[in-house]
Symmetry: C2
Subunit: 361 residues, 2 copies
Amino acid sequence: MLKSSAVDLEALAQRASERSGVRLYGRSVARVLSALLQTGDFWQVVDRAALPVPGAAAIVEVLIEEGLLARQGDDLVLTEAGREAARALGIRPPERHACPACEGRGVPFWADRALYQTFLALAKDRPESVQEFDQGYVTPETTVARVLHMASRGDLDGKEILVLAAEDDLTGLAIALTRRAKRVLILDIDPRLIAFDNRAFQELGIENAEARVFDLRNPFPEEWLGAFDVFVTDPPETPRAFRAFIARGIAALKAPGSAGYFGLTLRDASLFRWAEFQRALLDYGMVLTDILQDFNVYEIWPYHDQTRAARIAPTRRPPQAPWYRSSWQRIEALPGFRGENLAFTEEDLREIYLDEESSTT
Amino acid sequence: MLKSSAVDLEALAQRASERSGVRLYGRSVARVLSALLQTGDFWQVVDRAALPVPGAAAIVEVLIEEGLLARQGDDLVLTEAGREAARALGIRPPERHACPACEGRGVPFWADRALYQTFLALAKDRPESVQEFDQGYVTPETTVARVLHMASRGDLDGKEILVLAAEDDLTGLAIALTRRAKRVLILDIDPRLIAFDNRAFQELGIENAEARVFDLRNPFPEEWLGAFDVFVTDPPETPRAFRAFIARGIAALKAPGSAGYFGLTLRDASLFRWAEFQRALLDYGMVLTDILQDFNVYEIWPYHDQTRAARIAPTRRPPQAPWYRSSWQRIEALPGFRGENLAFTEEDLREIYLDEESSTT
């Protein structure tokens, strides 16, 4: 497909990779070019190209240096040479066939109207996201769809469910609202969320749900190990965080057939990272049963301009529309599964939120 | 949750496992009990429990022996003891929240009406499925949704696409109908399907698509190795077939970022098998990007009563409604990926379609 005059995507990827420390290949550059045929907004390019922010930013810079792309104020605009390169490479604008009725999740958030409406009414008073805890919450439609997806997998009725360190999404609250779980234990480091949940449980007379302040960098007490049918989390995406959150979630599971749910992006992690995580999950004795891309849609968080992502972006304008989506994944425990319940040192902590791929905290 | 008087699910699973050779655990039995709270039709039980047919059949037999379940003609009916056991264990009927607009796929088959209608018109004259080649095709809505899902992942426009040994679904035909791929090569062992496709391409003036008779048990010629951006297949689900079809599909891919699509059931394979396949994919240098449960819905095949599944079923009535669904999975090649292009001997062949888990051929 490459003509002698055509742009060498692999060479551009190599340069962007050296600059950013993010592993990239020719198709990464092709995805950015494809996105740029449709939008000039950097954050929408990241969304469409599904690349770690530092990687997408480095590709944009390299394209600008090559004269294929130009900045026009806060917009990115392909030059004539850039458009010609895309044409020569057969690159077309991206398209996304997402069902409008269920927002592409396959699971319709409106299938349980009472749950959706109760959740909406409660969530309007939720605590705002703060950067200190890597917060940033998903839309109410996302949260309710997570619960209905769990119900579809048989992971709700009569189950003991642990929600760990992701309660900015209020997933634990939504699960408890169904009154179908046997027990819901919600752990989060942020006392505002814990108080918010417990107040709701008290007002609504929900007795089998409890929220507790807990820092996931500490190991679990013995009583939580092997005690749950299901865990739900949405961790930072560094390898360290994966061990602190997901491996500990696995350690909390009871038996083969127990399940875990977690989010994973291609905005703060690469497919290389995904492959490492997939191997780790198999080593823990877990099997992946669901990977639903773009299931989780995040509201724009108020501290965007304080993030590394904003600092390294090639344009200054903050996101104008949702751009941060993540996949929702389900894993199931096979016989012999085992998690990890590690303690983390002060030194470990520094690496938990940020690394070369992860930039939105 | 278990009371002293309660049924020991793990012990029942163990017995069913020894009988069938399919690895099962307590939750497998719980899933069958849950399904039986909703339906008395064995094939619908298999669908809801998402277990290999021989495993589900063995669980049903054990439940009957224990007096928890009874046959009433061709229906399976929980006894009072069975209902009481389900209650004591907190087991509830299954539920499935699938969006009615997109049939739960997230990708609406009607998003490209012209494609859907053209495909429907052509497919009404398709060759009927035959047992010799493990055929059994998905609904037209499934086939069209596969193509739109590929488009959403950037795996259609300008791509060289290999469709291997799954053309009973007419996925290659549907891809070619979009006229958006650079090249479509369709391989299938069944000359009827090859002739059907080539006739359509000729009548419609589609010049960049070609169908060829090919037996996937043979290795690929050199010219197909490293020659495609995308492969699509829907193989039998034995480890042998996995190597013959998927490993060879990977060998046909060009570069990092190239992608593969395949179906995988929980009707002819267990989650243990899934875990083995997931590890093999990582070893080939591939990463899983999508696992969409129940994406593929199969029409009931005409030779059902000739299958091992029918012979081992605890009831004689054939399926009355679709019961065979499978997940649709996407994998992407990372740098250093490599497939396999093995030849298979006469001895290998016997294992390609049937083993302890696989029974529908």
